[in-house]
């Protein structure tokens, strides 16, 4: 392991990507993720890579598509409005089964919205923001260290399953500074015997997402579905805290989960037994973990998000009516304060049935 260095989230993520073997970056400026392309513009040429500022996010993701087809370990990054523009390319990449990593430093929407941190793009990230029957693997790191650790994993998962992977952060994760340690990376890019790099000594290959015969597209989509089931089986990640004796369970991811961790500690100091489920992979969602907790002694769930309530839908599906599910959220760039979450927890504890969302 290396030494701890103090770094801004966006820059640490960019450095982690390079150490994970990423050599190609195509992007377009948008706040609050500009330090990623800026860092890549400085660093990639030093390691023999290519940085290119595209004319738009639409072009950037299609450059990523081309670079992935050529076998490059490639990424892009953006936020809200820019990620919306990348959905076309993500759908095509999913359909053509091309690997890439997309970093999304979420800002508040809809529309131009604001530039402060938000979690309002959970639906877009996890429910298939583009068209068609596909899934996007989505990780929601809660610290810069975790984001750094997840980068190499994200590239590996993308290559292993030939699928786009998204790292879903937020403006706060991108902009804040924390001490981070870069692990000793073993870059292990699998042999890609499907790329288009010129048909030399082999038959010509085609990379495409078009299947005009319904029977073929049906078969393709079901094959992809089986792949997604395999991903759900192998790649679901979740952190559980204080669940052994918990009466109440917080559910939160990313920045909000960090806040909920201190809420949990404060609640326990005041005698309220609170646990925390922190989904790390947002798709695949840790449905089984939540289902098991819902079958136990927990009296109610409180989902906390920087949105008006998006992940809560997955929480409610997992809980399946067994226990009340409540919500607390701030959006538009507002960050939930620990005392306000704690106050909501007390209201839920007083009467778990009152105001339940499910």
């Amino acid at each position: 392991m290396g030494e701890k260095v103090l770094m801004k989230g966006n820059e640490a993520i960019a450095e982690a990507a390079i150490r994970a073997g990423c050599r190609y970056f195509f992007g377009y400026p948008i706040t609050p993720q500009n330090e990623i392309p800026e860092y890549m513009a400085r660093r990639l040429p030093q390691v023999g890579g290519v940085f290119l500022q595209a004319e738009s996010e639409v072009a950037a993701i299609n450059m990523v598509y081309g670079a992935a087809a050529a076998g490059g370990r490639v990424m892009t990054s953006s936020s809200g409005p820019g990620i919306s523009l990348k959905q076309e390319g993500l759908s095509y990449m999913a359909g053509a089964e091309l690997p890439c990593v997309v970093v999304n430093m979420v800002r508040a929407g809809p529309g131009l919205g604001g530039i402060q941190a938000a979690q309002s793009d959970y639906f877009q990230a996890t429910k298939g923001g583009g068209h068609g029957d596909y899934r996007l693997v989505v990780y929601g790191p809660a610290s810069i260290q975790e984001a750094v650790d997840l980068m190499a994993h994200a590239f590996d998962v993308a290559d292993r399953y030939r699928t786009p992977v998204m790292l879903l952060g937020d403006g706060m994760l991108g902009q804040m500074m924390e001490p981070v340690e870069f692990p000793d990376y073993q870059v292990n890019i699998p042999v890609k015997d499907w790329i288009t790099n010129g048909a030399s000594g082999r038959p010509a290959r085609v990379i495409s997402s078009i299947f005009l015969k319904p029977e073929e597209l049906d078969a393709h989509c079901w094959a992809m579905k089986r792949k997604y089931e395999e991903i759900a089986e192998n790649e679901t990640r979740v952190e559980c805290l204080g669940l052994d004796d918990a009466d109440f369970c917080l559910v939160a991811y990313g920045t909000t989960a960090r806040i909920c961790r201190s809420v949990m500690e404060k609640a326990r100091e005041s005698g309220l037994r609170v646990g925390l489920i922190r989904p790390i992979s947002l798709w695949p969602f840790p449905t089984n973990t939540i289902r098991e907790v819902a079958s136990g002694n927990v009296k109610a769930f409180l989902t906390v998000e920087m949105s008006t309530g998006q992940m809560i839908e997955d929480v409610m599906l997992a809980v399946n009516g067994k226990k009340p599910v409540h919500f607390y959220g701030k959006t538009g760039g507002m960050v939930p304060a620990p005392r306000d979450i704690l106050a909501k927890l007390r209201v839920v504890a007083d009467d778990p049935e009152k105001g339940r969302m499910n």
Partner: protein, 250 residues
């Protein structure tokens, strides 16, 4: 002993195409295949197919191919070329793809001097979707979405892409040819070859626009469609090498 003076290019597959009778895509495909054969680059060529009638170009050209989203072929080609700078990357795009939905991508690929070759099929109509108005539809021409004829007061004017792109410093070779008769096809063949040579010489962005016929959606017999290319399209879209041609300074 017999001498072979003409044969099917190796890069052109021996299959029946899905193109309509009288469509000039077949000629354009052959010109691309001939250029690839002539330059001996088949093993390092990667084509980028676009959205439109030529979406299945890879069924007819025997080289690696990537199918791109509508209008994005130059961006996909950029990604391929930046990862594999020694490969030869070309896009094959129609007028709706290149001059409408993909205008930003083609202009910026040219402005960057992206070392790719672009084959641009201009038949002034959306063929695959059934005959809608294209950015290059001539004033007065009837299409399913300009049923009274293209009225510039409502639908603007046809775009001359070669003229537009030749103003960009990154564009090293810009030429327009027509496929309406053998003499012009021969000239087109030279332009297509030159556009690939330009990439091999790492000079910059290269594009060849090929004026083409769409008898089905023009509601004309194939022979009359070629006549329409000669008489109407060539009048609006002047032929020749705009930049980087033989004898030019660039």
């Amino acid at each position: 002993m017999a001498t072979v003076v003409m044969k099917r290019p190796e890069t052109l597959k021996r299959v029946i195409t899905h193109y309509c009778p009288g469509c000039t895509h077949g000629i354009a495909h052959r010109l691309v295949a001939e250029a690839i054969d002539k330059l001996g680059i088949k093993q390092k060529v990667i084509g980028v197919a676009s959205v439109g009638c030529s979406v299945f170009a890879y069924n007819y050209l025997d080289c690696d191919f990537v199918q791109a989203a509508h209008g994005r072929a130059p961006a996909v080609a950029t990604g391929l070329k930046r990862v594999l700078p020694d490969s030869v990357v070309f896009t094959y795009q129609g007028d709706g793809d290149l001059a409408s939905i993909g205008t930003a991508e083609i202009v910026h690929a040219a402005a960057r001097g992206e070392k790719i070759t672009v084959i641009f099929i201009n038949n002034g109509i959306y063929g695959m979707t059934g005959g809608q108005m294209a950015p290059t539809t001539l004033v007065g021409d009837r299409t399913t979405t300009s049923p009274e004829g293209r009225d510039p007061a409502k639908a603007g004017y046809p775009i001359k892409m070669c003229e537009l792109l030749s103003t960009l410093e990154g564009a090293a070779y810009v030429a327009r040819a027509s496929l309406h008769d053998p003499a012009n096809v021969l000239k087109a063949s030279r332009f297509v070859t030159r556009a690939f040579e330009c990439q091999l010489e790492r000079k910059g962005f290269a594009i060849v626009e090929l004026l083409s016929a769409c008898p089905t959606n023009w509601s004309l017999k194939p022979i009359d469609a070629l006549k329409a290319v000669k008489e109407k399209m060539v009048a609006h879209y002047p032929l020749g090498e705009f930049k980087g041609g033989a004898g030019s300074e660039a």
